[in-house]
């Protein structure tokens, strides 16, 4: 069984997503079907094939260590759902 309830629970936890029991059941079925379909790749002989991470094959893209413009703190404040004392506020980290 490629993907079972325990796996769904674990993956949902990793992704920080809540699923209702019905959603979990549905995901289990759908994801299992999708993963079964992915098995088609097992037909391929990939022994001597290099993985492609970038289609253009560029390397060494870098920039100089020169300062650019940063946001005014007001911009960060405006974006933050909760703000105080110049900081973004989050629930207490133990």
């Amino acid at each position: 069984m490629k993907i079972d309830k325990t796996t769904i629970d674990w993956v949902a936890e990793l992704a920080r997503i809540n699923l209702s029991p019905e959603e979990k059941r549905e995901m289990e079925i759908q994801l299992a079907r999708i993963l079964d379909y992915m098995d088609v790749l097992n037909e391929l002989d990939l022994e001597d094939v290099e993985p492609t991470a970038h289609t253009l094959g560029y390397t060494n893209v870098m920039r100089k260590d020169e300062q650019g413009k940063s946001f005014d703190v007001g911009v960060v404040e405006k974006l933050a759902p909760k703000w105080g004392n110049g900081h973004v506020i989050v629930p207490r980290i133990v």
Partner: protein, 484 residues
């Protein structure tokens, strides 16, 4: 049953660049919170990273100085996890193909044998933001994203360290190397160096590994040593009583000088590393790596050796002077103009360092330049002031930045070497302390010193001690082995 400690360190060094790893925000320390941010380091939707070339350069330089094998092909990977100080919910780090492979660092133990500590790898990654907690125990936490994206070099050692002292020495060695190469100042108070330790205990002489305990939250080298000392005691005690240890993460509590278990439940992490598709590989040629190797400045080990050979310093002095790049530079600059290295070394290691420690400042903030030091020494050498007065003048120089000559003039500290004047004072002392003279003549050697002291007191320390000795000797005769 004898147990031995098996210790490994994980060190994060903040690389000294003007801008962050993947964006052009400033890395300057101490800025008001959330003033050095942009779409990239804030992890706004649509933002993309672009690598800072200085980060690669310094990363490789550090690796070469750590004797690492520099990778000709390395990539950045995403380390995925959720935490409020991590805007993208992944840290751009290196996993399968780090820039620096295995290397090693030499431990120089004072008066002891050298030891090499293996480095497993040293890779590049970006720092997370800073979390501050509200004073109220149930209050919220606050995030400052200034630090987000600042470049780090993560150095992982092999579990080759066996004692807390060696751990301390290792950290010192790393700090020296990073300073000398300009990679980082490694100021722990500024967060430029952070360290976590792994320690397990095993039966002495065995090959197997015991159960690892990870210790966090040590904010000084001394605390690292204390934490390890405590852990060794604690683990040994548990093992001797037959307990089985479980893998744990513990925090060092500086108030108790002990480690305590971390209270939060450590979740199992699955970082799901994969190559970051927004960045392309870093590819280096042998020539490029060689060129960087050639550009390496003189490293601590070589400099120490050279100081011993060239300046005839003791190994002890060389180790201490070279433990800070600024101090070593200061020393060499002073010696250039005043060619008595031993004397300079001595003075630096006693008078200068003492003042710096008391005032809690660095040698870089010291108001006395090597040139000013030379002037002071010249004045002392010429006999204008005594060595003791010289120390006082030095303290004044350090606090005011005034030159030695000016201070001596202003305070009228010139040594009194006028035989006539001094003779008068000596006569005074002798007449006032007749009983002490009698003691001395009766065989009490120490009484001579008292009399010298009295002359110094009357002349406010300015009497030429040598002359005082001579005069006293003349008048009341006796031994020559006197201290000033």
């Amino acid at each position: 049953m004898q147990y031995e400690a098996v210790i490994g360190l994980e060190i994060h060094v903040q690389i000294n660049t003007r801008t962050k790893t993947f964006c052009r925000c400033s890395t300057e320390f101490g800025a008001p919170p959330n003033t050095h941010t942009c779409p990239v380091c804030l992890g706004l939707p649509g933002a993309l990273p672009v690598l800072n070339e200085e980060v690669i350069k310094k990363g490789i330089t550090a690796g070469l100085a750590l004797n690492c094998r520099v990778a000709k092909y390395s990539i950045f990977a995403r380390k995925n996890y959720f935490y409020p100080d991590l805007p993208k919910a992944y840290q751009i780090s290196q996993y399968a193909l780090p820039i620096n492979g295995p290397g090693r660092v030499k431990l120089v133990r004072p008066g002891g044998k050298e030891k090499w500590i293996g480095i497993t790898r040293a890779h590049l990654e970006e720092d997370a933001g800073k979390l501050v907690h509200d004073e109220a125990p149930r209050g919220p936490s606050y995030v400052d994203f200034n630090r987000c994206g600042v470049p780090l070099l993560e150095i992982v050692t092999e579990p080759d360290i066996r004692t807390p002292d060696d751990a301390y020495l290792f950290l010192t060695a790393i700090k020296e190397i990073m300073q000398y190469t300009g990679v980082s100042e490694c100021n722990m108070e500024k967060g430029e160096l952070r360290v976590d330790v792994n320690i397990s205990m095993r039966e002495a002489g065995k090959d197997s590994y015991g159960v690892k305990q990870e210790i966090k939250n040590m904010n000084s080298f001394a605390n690292v040593k204390r934490a390890l000392e405590y852990e060794i005691k604690r683990q040994t005690r548990l093992l001797r009583s037959g307990e089985v240890l479980t893998q744990q993460t513990r925090l060092f509590d500086p108030n108790k000088n002990a480690t305590v278990p971390m209270r939060t439940k450590e979740e199992a992490h699955d970082y799901r590393y994969f190559p970051d598709p927004d960045l392309v590989p870093v590819v280096l040629t042998s020539e490029e790596i060689s060129m960087l190797r050639e550009e390496l400045p003189e490293l601590p080990d070589r400099r120490r050796k050279r100081f011993v050979e060239e300046y005839n310093l003791t190994e002890y002095d060389a180790v201490n002077i070279c433990s800070s790049l600024s101090t070593a530079n200061y020393f060499e600059e002073a010696v250039r103009d005043y060619k008595q290295p031993k004397k300079i070394a001595n003075w630096i290691l006693t008078e200068l360092l003492r003042y710096l420690n008391e005032q809690k400042i660095d040698i870089d903030q010291c108001l006395v330049t090597p040139a000013m030091l030379k002037e002071l020494f010249d004045i002392m050498d010429s006999g204008v002031i005594s060595g003791k007065i010289g120390k006082d003048v030095f303290t004044e120089m350090m606090s005011s930045g005034k030159r030695a000559g000016a201070i001596v003039e202003q305070k009228g500290l010139k040594q009194v070497s006028d035989t006539g004047k001094l003779e008068g004072v000596v006569d005074e002392v002798l007449s006032e302390h007749g009983n002490v003279v009698a003691d001395y003549l009766g065989g009490k050697q120490k009484a001579f010193g008292f009399l010298v002291g009295q002359v110094m007191k009357k002349t406010k320390g300015k009497a030429n001690p040598k002359l005082v000795n001579e005069l006293l000797n003349q008048k009341i005769g006796g031994s020559d082995d006197l201290e000033q």
